[in-house]
Symmetry: D2
Subunit: 103 residues, 4 copies
């Protein structure tokens, strides 16, 4: 029995992403894509300075970390926290650890 | 109902670390400490070269990532995967995200 | 006097990116942008699975690290390694450390 | 000719670490070692909580990044910035990129 308000998400028996996380991740990644486009344009200018490019790439990496955070939080809430009930804890944790590249 | 073989760990109503993860993390961190000691000794030698020190620090950082992996895996299996049953999913995920510094 | 074959780059007295690094970084970032676009499309599918998205974002982060490596190497060779001759070592190192976010 | 105030360091024809960086890195790593010792002791307590351990490891990783910053800055100022004068730019940059694990 759960008093939980966390999102659950299953489509036709398969785990899938909670809608809110999906929309928010999409928005963040769209912004990161636009930012990457502007860096590619910067690089058309032969006067562009290395350190300015390094800073811009760093900013995009920050945006990707933000998107990872949204997706990871949704996954932990919707799928990892319910693994005990489903009985697939070891598998789902292994899968996540591999995706995070700790394992 | 769970068919799970994942470790659970509660001491007097409080969540605590699965014993196996605790022992393995301790061993890894002890090794990292010994490695750090040897870097501190390296630095007593005025002929030590910067890049050798950078490489050694990198190796210790790898060892700490290994310890983080052990602790995180144990936490996901023992506590996050059972959050749906306990009903504290949102809190436990928030706490973990903060510790991982995504949030 | 230098026997160096490293690239140097100055346009109208300003430091700028060696052309080879600029072209290679541009290619890598263009590929990363295409990859990001495909992740944004993945996220239009409501059946998409969190861990697949995490893996894809991780791959783009790897591509951005590759681009950073290209730009950083070019900067070190063309501008940092010549700082002693120009006499702006402290400034150029400070600027780089700040961009790398160590400082 | 250089108007630079950056540290240079050679011992018997070999590059070595500027003394100030050496002392500061040593101090930081000694503190990190003490911190690691206290985490190992925490892990002797069977009631220790995973997330507390994750936070402490994160703090040590921050301290190691701080030590890396000190060593890297010293290396860039003393050795990379003078590579053009010595004529070993390509080698010294390659060595550093490998140590930073970008390459």
């Amino acid at each position: 029995m759960s008093t939980d308000t966390a999102p659950h998400c299953h489509v036709e028996g398969k785990l899938c992403m909670p809608e809110d996380a999906r929309k928010r991740a999409s928005r963040r990644l769209s912004i990161a894509r636009g930012h990457l486009e502007s860096i590619v344009r910067m690089l058309d200018d032969e006067g562009v300075y290395c350190v300015d490019v390094l800073r811009q790439i760093k900013a995009v990496q920050g945006a990707l970390s933000g998107a990872t955070e949204v997706v990871l939080r949704g996954h932990l809430e919707a799928h990892v926290a319910t693994a005990g009930e489903r009985g697939d804890t070891v598998e789902i944790v292994e899968e996540l650890m591999a995706a995070l590249k700790y394992a």
